[in-house]
Point group: C2
Chain length 181, copies 2
């Protein structure tokens, strides 16, 4: 199972025009509720992300945030920087080859993260579930979650929750077609 757990603006951006993501955490959250992130992570065997997301996480001014294996998909990155080699593994090849390799390592429930990586998985119809939290700004431009597809993909919204009286989180599950049960 390949799952997405991500936040976007109302107009579908994951970062603003300058690449900024401070708006993602701008809604006051005095009790630090995690909006389902802990539950989601507990069902996950490993993370799969692209170079951009990996480098963003490396740049955060905090400890390494993941307790699960992280696979970094990049054809341009030569190697994982030394200080992250016990945390992340570089993967090259087609998505099919990479997934086979990850499955051989007994990781089956995967958290697919990062705009380009998610778009790559969607292009090959490899996403089973998407949990999308809408941080309620209309940004008017930025880095979009979704990209171009040659074929439409049908999902169903199976769950919706409102957090902090402001943020809605919708969970979509891939279905083969609109009439499937």
């Amino acid at each position: 199972m390949n799952k997405v757990f991500i936040a976007t603006s109302m107009d579908g951006y994951i970062a603003d025009k300058d690449g900024g993501i401070e708006w993602l955490h701008s809604v006051p959250n005095p009790n630090n509720i995690d909006m389902g992130y802990g539950d989601f992570m507990s069902q996950i065997d490993a993370m799969v992300m692209g170079r951009t997301t990996f480098e963003t996480v490396c740049g955060f001014d905090m400890d390494w945030p993941y307790q699960k294996p992280v696979f970094v998909l990049s054809n341009s990155l030569k190697s994982i920087p030394a200080e992250y080699r016990d945390k992340a593994e570089l993967m090259k090849g087609t998505l099919k080859e990479i997934l086979e390799e990850i499955h051989r390592k007994k990781c089956h429930n995967l958290y697919i993260d990062g705009g380009k990586t998610i778009q790559g998985f969607l292009k090959e119809d490899l996403i089973d579930e998407m949990t999308i939290s809408i941080i309620p700004y209309v940004l008017g431009g930025g880095i979009p979650l979704f990209g171009e597809l040659s074929e439409r993909l049908y999902f169903e919204c199976v769950d919706s929750k409102i957090y902090l009286d402001k943020i809605v989180q919708n969970r979509f599950v891939r279905k083969m077609n609109v009439n499937s049960i």
Copy 2:
């Protein structure tokens, strides 16, 4: 109050790459539930739409669907075709001028419809509420609901409902800023 009530794909399109909207009504709806449309319309004094939406509605193979006054915003249209003159009124000018004119006609709660019209209202921060139903396709391209903005706009999600076990409808209300009460 200027309100939007619209459906989009998961990736934020209101029509597909060919302008098609058949997918909007593809989820089986055996009991013809109206997903809040009747309630919404009962609170509305008039509709405001652009030329494209007006011509799309005129092209539907059905009776005129609106019981409320319809204002058509267009600077290119010369006049409303004769058979629709008792149903729709052409408005020209800036949004501010047009809204003043509509308010003079005692229409205050307005249903703002059509992609370009909604984008024009958002550009001038003239939308108070947006009810967005997500028809759960990732289309991979099409005509987007949202456009470019110079300034971000902050809303809050105040309500969320799932219809037909598949479609989620989120209602967002404009707030001045993230800390306003």
